[in-house]
């Protein structure tokens, strides 16, 4: 019996799962053993969580757009399911970023600084709104094939918005991060002993994102295969 798309995705999922499982305790260990920042104290440790979440937030959108474009040109359900997975996991990472960001800002910049209209913060917030709009478009559009097609179009528009928004917000003079968090030229602002946990944090959250993305993708593909058992052959998940 030929392996179904869900079987093939399942193999990738297992590999990603094992890598994530190994990285998570390493990440925790490096964070616990990293030095306490002399200015921000324990609050600074959020550095090992907050910036790495950005990978998921942006990669989710890129996955949604690429999968959406593939769906528009090939019409294969498996690509649409990847687009859904990208949007959902991306929303999760984006939400976590928007929660951890203000907590860090309040701790680092003092009371009343939960939010500043900085270019990166504004961009993330806008990205979050686009993710929500994408999900609403899917739920409000009647017909699976039409919903998938419309969502694919919106996903492509969304990914174009990322550089466009960044450029415009920067151009019209959005406030920048306060000085204590800016990177110096030719030098990292990370103190001694902070580089490793930051690197491991980036790597771990990247794999967490990839694992969740593939997991959600597989669930979607399995659902489609269960709904249309006769179409569950190799690469035959087609709309219509």
């Amino acid at each position: 019996m030929n392996p179904t798309p869900a079987d093939r995705i399942g193999l990738t999922l297992r590999v990603l799962g094992w890598i994530t499982l190994v990285l998570l305790p390493v990440w925790a260990w490096t964070v616990i053993n990293s030095p306490i920042d002399s200015v921000q104290g324990i609050m600074q440790k959020i550095l090992y969580v907050h910036p790495p979440l950005a990978y998921g937030a942006y990669l989710g959108f890129v996955a949604t757009a690429i999968a959406g474009a593939l769906f528009l040109f090939k019409g294969r359900e498996v690509h649409d399911q990847l687009a859904i997975a990208g949007a959902e996991v991306g929303t999760l990472f984006c939400t976590l970023m928007l929660i951890t960001g203000p907590i860090w800002a309040r701790g680092a910049w003092g009371p009343g600084n939960w939010w500043v209209w900085d270019a990166r913060l504004t961009l993330t917030l806008l990205l979050w709104f686009v993710y929500l709009a994408y999900s609403l478009l899917r739920s409000f559009t009647e017909g699976d094939e039409r919903a998938a097609r419309f969502a694919s179009v919106y996903g492509i528009l969304g990914v174009v918005l990322i550089p466009l928004n960044y450029w415009i917000i920067d151009l019209v003079g959005g406030a920048m991060h306060p000085d204590n968090l800016q990177f110096e030229e030719n030098d990292s602002s990370l103190g001694e002993g902070m580089g490793l946990p930051f690197l491991v944090g980036n790597l771990t959250l990247f794999f967490v994102f990839a694992y969740l993305l593939v997991l959600r993708w597989r669930v979607g593909v399995l659902r489609v295969e269960a709904d249309a058992p006769s179409n569950a052959g190799e690469g035959e998940l087609q709309h219509g």
Partner: protein, 221 residues
């Protein structure tokens, strides 16, 4: 190209007979201008002048959302959307015709709103008028492009009145930011330079080309 011109003419002729969209957008714009008067404390003329470009553009964007919501609504009657989808040639031309008609209507409403805005807000819009008008015209290219594409999608969805603003407004943020930035400069007496127009040219260009290509996927046969 003929399809685009035919649709442009059809939409403008239909609007000329009914005047539905223009009247609705104009009344709504006037209301927004009036509402702003009650939304802020008593201010000096200089402070009002500082806020004016932002208020003007928020009014324009909200009015555009109202107008764009009706772009394809009339096509739903007698299933004209299907007829449009079955029309020979590239569907991008249908998009272009629809977007061009909306551009004309929105620009007309914006011109009328500007007069009321200048009167009520006591803002001097005559300073740098040509520059401001160019900025408005360019921003409208971006607004109408993305608005027409999203309107064709939302009109086929449930809660279309709510869905269009939710889809459209996040995509209009770069247009709004660039337009307010440039309008502040021209209303402040600065000469119109390519630097001021550049963001709107880039956004308008990207949105127009992308929507022209993607429109093929939003019409159902």
């Amino acid at each position: 190209m003929n399809v685009a011109l035919a649709l442009l003419w059809k939409d403008l002729a239909t609007e000329w007979r009914s005047r539905d969209r223009v009247v609705a957008m104009t009344v709504f714009s006037f209301l927004v201008v009036v509402v702003f008067q009650f939304a802020w404390p008593r201010m000096e003329p200089e402070e009002i002048a500082r806020l004016a470009p932002g208020v003007l553009w928020v009014t324009y964007v909200f009015a555009a959302v109202i107008g764009l919501g009706r772009t394809f609504a009339t096509e739903l009657e007698n299933d004209a959307m299907t007829a449009l989808a079955l029309a020979p040639g590239t569907r991008g031309w249908i998009f272009l015709g629809k977007a061009a008609a909306t551009w004309v209507l929105i620009s007309l409403v914006q011109a009328m709103t500007a007069v009321v805005f200048a009167l009520f807000m006591r803002v001097d819009l005559l300073t740098g008028l040509a520059g401001t008008a160019s900025i408005v015209g360019l921003a409208n290219v971006a607004i109408c492009s993305i608005g027409t594409l999203l309107s064709a999608m939302s009109v086929r969805s449930r809660f279309r009145e709510v869905l269009l603003p939710v889809l459209l407004i996040p995509t209009l943020i770069p247009v709004l930011a660039a337009a307010v930035h440039s309008t502040t400069a021209t209303m402040g007496g600065e000469a119109l330079t390519l630097t001021l127009l550049q963001p709107l040219i880039v956004i308008g260009g990207i949105y127009s080309i992308l929507c022209f290509l993607l429109f093929d996927f939003v019409l159902d046969e």
